[in-house]
Amino acid sequence: MIRVVLPAHLRTLARVNGEVQLESSAPITLGSVLDELEARYPVLRGSIRDHVTLRRRPFVRFFACEEDLSHEPPETALPQAVVSGSEPLLIIGALAGG
């Protein structure tokens, strides 16, 4: 079971409270978790990744286990602590502004 923490605006869009829990089959990668997340909550399509290119939106970040995975390719395996469910994958609205 994978735990995903969404930023507040995306929780509102997806109409969820707290963490999202996903069942994902191996290999569990950044891309496969995002695929699963968007399949469960289609309203999130286009809000984390571009609809067409599937590239991460510029002001969205992916953190896990105190590491920044934002620049990693989709096939990147997630840390074991995320795979085991002991740590969440954080989807973050990037710090932007003054």
Binding site: P7, A8, H9, L10, L13, V43, R45, G46, S47, I48, D50, H51, V52, R57, F59, V60, G93, A94, A96
Partner: protein, 387 residues
Amino acid sequence: MKTKAKHKVTSKKKRSASAVRLLVGTRKGAFILNSDGTRKKWTVDGPHFAGWEMYHLKGSPADPNRLYASQTSGWFGQKIQRSDDGGKTWEPVGDKFAYEGTTTTHQWYDGTQHPWEFKRIWHLEPSLTDPDTVYAGAEDAALFKTTDAGKTWQEFPGLRNAKGHLWQPGAGGMGLHTILLDPSNPKRIFIAISAAGVFRTEDGGQTWRPINSGLKSPYQLPDPDAEVGHCVHRIALHPSRPGVLFMQKHWDVMRSDNAGDSWHEVSGDLPTDFGFPIDVHAHEPETIYVVPIKSDSEHFPLDGKLRVYRSRTGGNEWEPLTKGLPQRDCYVNILRDAMAVDSLEPCGVYFGTTGGQVYASANGGNSWTAIVRDLPAVLSVEVQTLK
């Protein structure tokens, strides 16, 4: 005297039986303001979609309970919301706006060509007859259409063939911000783009041609009479005379009497002819409204006085409307989509400011009151007259 008094009572009754709903898009959410037809007391409902930029909300003329809203965010992109109950509840619908065919390019700030990239929807224009059909104006400039109530959107790529390689973004982006549907001819649509100009289709959107003859932009374009490239801020028409168009250009207020084939200036005695919105009175096709702004580098009213100007002669002769509007220390702006008129008698006129005020006039502009004063910066105002 007796007849006049009776008539007065009847129209007063009629006004209080009707209702008005204002749809206000702001930098940080949407607000719905309601009143009965007297337009004296208002309720404020919102924010809807708190924290999101709500570029535009508009109701279907064919079904007033059907509303569409453009919800955008620099972080999380574009969403389109639909309401089937007049804004009480909303459902997200489709938001995939993919440009059709091969990627074309437009002029970029450094003189190079730049590929079209979708950024947001500036304006939603529901069909006059079908609640499920809506046109959407995009940045980078393109026109999209849905016929399934927002589930899917298709572009009209023919528009980009109208010398799209010469279009360029203005300071606010290259947005398609105005869509006018001709009530007398469903195949004819007018659109306006900053900074490209006005375009018209006669075949329902398949082919387009620029209609900018007569526009002059001496300090914005190397060729002041160029066929495209003009920074048109807004166009408007009266439904009874769709061949007569009014325009607030970057500078200049313009008019066309031949559906845009040619334009002539009607700025006349305005104190400054820079501005953003322009609108037409609901019952008087020659009565138009603008809000003069000092200049393109000072986006605020002249002398700190917020004045709407009205012309009852289709331009050239203008009168300031000031009653109820701040006449000192006012430095807000009024954006292009932030003015609307209702269809009650007398005609109501509404506009929102970047300072968060929404002003209403229930008498065609003779006097104004602020419905609200402290919303986030207002991006758009639309009004629905509910019978």
